[in-house]
Symmetry: C2
Subunit: 286 residues, 2 copies
DNA sequence: CGGTACCGATACCCACAGGGCATCGGTGGG
DNA sequence: CCCACCGATGCCCTGTGGGTATCGGTACCG
């Protein structure tokens, strides 16, 4: 607005800075960026002039972030993510592609998901919905980086920061066990009963951390986990609704002291498109 | 990642596109951007090639957004805001400047604010906090564009989309009236009593809309509004805690059917700096 | 129905910003 | 003390972003 708007920060400069700030080494950063080191040094220097302060402390032996640099690393990453999300969402808006991508943890909320898709398809203004199955913990990422528009996720397990959310329902949790297991006959258990079961180690979630990790086999999503339970290699603690999708050979036992799980529908704060709003409204009516 | 990463979108291109999409006119957009029309046309064409689809429908008489263009307008604005926020926050991180800026509606939550600042100053790791007084409805904007790091705001009045939030407390609302007013002696009132009071029109909030607008004098913030009430020009409906900051000549009467107001502390989702976290923690202990 | 005013696209040209290569200067380790 | 490492500097070049002139299509008006 007006004369003298010094000149704005370009995403290229942000990418350069983030690379250097992550590597803390101009040479390696330049290599990662596919360019030579001198222009990178100059670009950073120019960015520092433009922002009116040092971002990096260089002794010719070591590179470190200044406080301002630490701020720009955090904020710059977020800004770059926003730009990339904009790009992806625009690409996805090409004619002929599904208007809405719904991200769901593979193997979770199967019943709810089916209901939701049916209800949505029955709507008069129904737009095609693409379902994207992701691993546990990737939900937020996929939503934030523009690969999906809406997601079903679960409190308190999934990270909801920066997302807009509506609650769909809360349920208790049950242990999923091989039918023949010693605990399978119990009317209920507590978490302590499940810790260190002989021959039945807790599963370990791959991908971004966040939930308590066991020592057993590594799994990416609920579908994999259920399969491993059926094979007698581990157990699982899932929301009650998992019962509807269990085959032969698996039993469930209520876990009295497990936190209740709330299923929520979430979307990135700007993506208030009509299509997303419609899907959310449908979900809330279930 | 790897070879063939076609080339990324620059913020300059986003600014160009947003200008054209808002003006729906290449000439005016170019003028607004301080450049000539031809390079602008080319830049948009290049952006369309890069994103693999038309963003604008041009007949030589009228320019309109395609669906993809509408998406990019929404998402691009958000991305640009993120970049500008990154820039502002980095500038603010220069040594010697306050580490945390707390945005508060002028005239609101005075007591809570004082308590919070006192409590925070008493902390061992206390960093200087700058208080930014803003008009009603500007809270979110100020947080999102990087001028502030934390804000006190009020549900359900303020828009919390895209912000991370912790609740601080809920209170009922009272009507603030000139002491001599007819209703001032009542033990309680309902909202209907306040509608269309002879000679006492409801105030009108300037700035971004959102709350019910009256026909009376226009005000920017709570402080202005209280002043006008004292002058007998309007009335106000405020959270109970306003009582502590009323001078002579003003009375309060509980409003039975007014929605309770929840005061929350909010911050942008990435700005998880230690300083912000500390302030939030202090607020939660009050 | 022809003229004209308007608007985005095209053609052409220039300047400079961004990138490469060679080298310097400071610093810590052997 | 020398060498290896690393970021900064100097210098050159190319690509692209921007400017001016003009085209081509369309709607409006006399």
């Amino acid at each position: 607005m007006g004369i003298g708007t010094v000149e704005d920060v370009e995403t290229r400069e942000l990418r350069y800075f983030v690379a250097v700030a992550e590597e803390l080494h101009f040479g390696r950063a330049a290599q990662r960026l596919g360019m030579a080191q001198p222009p990178l040094s100059r670009a950073i220097a120019q960015l520092e002039r433009r922002l009116g302060g040092a971002l990096l402390e260089r002794t010719s032996r070591v590179v470190a972030l200044t406080p301002a640099g630490a701020v720009l690393l955090r904020e710059g990453r977020a800004a770059l993510a926003a730009v990339e999300a904009a790009e992806r969402r625009t690409r996805r808006a090409a004619p002929g592609r599904a208007e809405v991508v719904l991200a769901v943890k593979a193997g979770a909320s199967a019943e709810l998901l089916a209901e939701l898709l049916d209800a949505h398809a029955a709507e008069p203004d129904a737009v095609p919905v693409e379902v994207l199955l992701v691993g546990v913990g990737e939900q937020g990422a996929v939503l934030r980086d523009g690969r999906a528009d809406v997601a079903l996720l679960h409190r308190p397990y999934d990270d909801l920061t920066g997302l807009d959310v509506e609650e769909l329902g809360t349920e208790g949790q049950v242990a999923v066990l091989p039918a023949g297991h010693a605990l399978a006959g119990r009317t209920d258990v507590v978490l302590a009963d499940l810790a260190d079961l002989p021959g039945l180690p807790a599963p370990r979630w791959s991908g971004p951390a966040g939930r308590p990790d066991g020592s057993g086999p590594e799994v990416r999503d609920h579908a994999q986990l259920l399969q491993l339970v059926a094979l007698g290699r581990t157990f699982a603690v899932f929301p009650e609704s998992v019962r509807s999708q269990l085959g032969e050979g698996l039993t469930t036992v209520p876990v009295l002291d497990a936190e209740p799980v709330t299923t929520v529908v979430a979307w990135p704060p700007h993506s208030r498109s009509l299509a997303v709003a419609g899907l959310v409204r449908t979900a809330l009516r279930l």
